[in-house]
Assembly symmetry: C2
Homo-oligomer: 328 residues x 2
């Protein structure tokens, strides 16, 4: 049983680094002039995607955080998609155990730093006398897991010069290459591949090195992509619905945006894996290997819809959010 | 008199494109190993800057927006620094007239779209019967003013390959080059120079082209840099204090994040130029031509303070915010 799971994970891990022919073909077709560039907006392009290009997310790969209702008694639910192998699986295994143990229930959002992160977990975690005990069996993950080594380096054209019409491989300020694989934004340097800190990505708080964090303390990006955190902290997923319940919280006035009084914290009612939540919608993402995603990414980099007069000619990977929706 | 002003503006415009020797020297010294790279954090580097490296901002170049107090009766002030010549001066002239006419007083923040913008102005602006009349004498600015033509193209090394230790000229996903000049983040393509949509930058809402907006409808960026707007909309300044009063507002649930009911809008008490506001602190920014700024930018691209284990080796221009503070 475990061997089969391991084999599936290995295959998935390999698939993550394979070329993505549909995207490449669509990009080439647009670049060569065989396909007219679209005057549709990115949203219109995505809305026209055939059903087959959407990939359903397994409920067991969702983490559902219910915050206490807001001042007007409206519910506040944040839905997070966990990353697939080969990334961060040690921490994600811990997160599954923490959710199963109801470990976060009754804890809170303790830090909201403007243009940076919102962070939740145990506000007393630093105080050994008061800290909530972690469940047994959590893994201590080594720092080497911040980056995945694919074992193969594909020969790549320089994505910065010239910038293509269609960003199959993106010019990046932090790595030789940025690219999408199986729904996720990644940076690539030779055989090294790592997920990147875009808006809404969820990461694992930690103490000073060599501590790598357990997964009990989590944050999400609520500002400009803090890419300097890449390869320094584990990324475990992204918020796919409800990020406004975190990004619009009052900013903390203490150091690093921590709240100075307990009253300012937002209580967490519960955090559960999606397969434990009754009535959860099915969520799906647009395959980043699809022809529609290629057209969408091209349109994000070269807006030709009526408002725009000057297509940019390129795009930062974090300015091409992967479309996610509730399945119809 | 006008000739003198014009000459000063022309000199300023030229200075904006000159090399910045202090920065270049500091970068070269670090890159060559003559100066030890700092293990200080970017904040610690900035805190140690000598007073002479800080540039005071004239109160007449500030725009002060007082929103209605929040639910706990706390004041909400947003301070904006207007851009210097040669950028966007037509719109900025209009903004000065609108502030002098008290045009915004009693209007509101009408749109807050997550990971995008917060926008303020006349909620009834689209309705001719209800719209507040604009003051006379506003300039209609042509689209050509979105970009400044410097008339000179300096030969540049490719900033993407290899990435230097010190980002004097930054690799950029949207232009051949990104760089700081006189306190502002700019993109450069040959003789064309334009300001860029980083977090906190303030722009001018407009209708479809050829409309370029008057400056009456303004927005600020509250998410990942929407650089596709560069050269498509005028940028006129940046929020230097109080952006949390905009970025933490509830998101609008209508199309594009507009509020659906008047009650959701945040009222604007007043918008004034800084020289009209009694008791305003003096604000100053760290000269982007200073040695400290070079060290700061290097540290943003290569974090060596204790938390970090892997310096990024590069940085996006919008991840190097120009330090601004109240003068001591």
């Amino acid at each position: 049983m475990w061997q089969v799971i391991r084999m599936i994970r290995t295959l998935t891990a390999l698939a993550l680094l394979l070329p993505t022919p549909a995207f490449a073909q669509a990009s080439a077709a647009i670049a060569s002039g065989k396909v007219a560039p679209s005057a549709l907006s990115p949203g219109e392009i995505v809305a026209a995607a055939p059903k087959a290009e959407w990939v359903a997310i397994a409920p067991s790969d969702l983490l559902v955080m219910d915050l206490a209702p807001d001042a007007k008694a409206r519910p506040r639910r944040v839905v997070i998609q966990l990353m697939p192998p080969p990334f961060s699986q040690g921490w994600i295994g811990n997160i599954r155990k923490l959710a199963a143990a109801r470990w976060w229930d009754g804890l809170s959002v303790n830090r909201v730093q403007d243009n940076y992160v919102a962070q939740w977990g145990d506000a007393d975690g630093e105080d050994k006398a008061k800290a909530r005990a972690l469940p047994r069996g959590l893994t201590v993950v080594p720092e080497s897991e911040y980056t995945h080594f694919s074992g193969s380096t594909a020969a790549m054209q320089d994505p910065c010069r010239p910038r293509g019409l269609s960003p199959r491989e993106l010019c990046d300020s932090y790595a030789p290459l940025a690219a999408f694989r199986q729904g996720w934004p990644l940076a690539i340097d030779g055989a090294s591949v790592w997920p990147v800190h875009c808006y809404g990505m969820v990461g694992v708080g930690r103490d000073l090195s060599p501590n790598t964090g357990s997964g009990a303390e989590l944050y999400t990006v609520i500002g400009h992509a803090p890419r300097h955190l890449d390869r320094n902290i584990a990324l475990v997923g992204r918020v796919i619905e409800g990020i406004e319940h975190l990004s619009s919280l009052p900013r903390g006035t203490g150091a690093l945006g921590f709240y100075e009084t307990p009253e300012e914290r937002t209580p967490i009612v519960s955090i559960r894996l999606g397969n434990e939540v009754a009535g959860l919608p099915v969520y799906e993402y647009l395959s980043t290997e699809s022809a529609t995603f290629a057209r969408y990414a091209d349109a994000r980099a070269n807006r030709r819809d009526p408002f725009f007069i000057k297509p940019a000619g390129g795009a930062d990977i974090c300015n091409i959010p992967v479309p996610v929706r509730r399945a119809k």
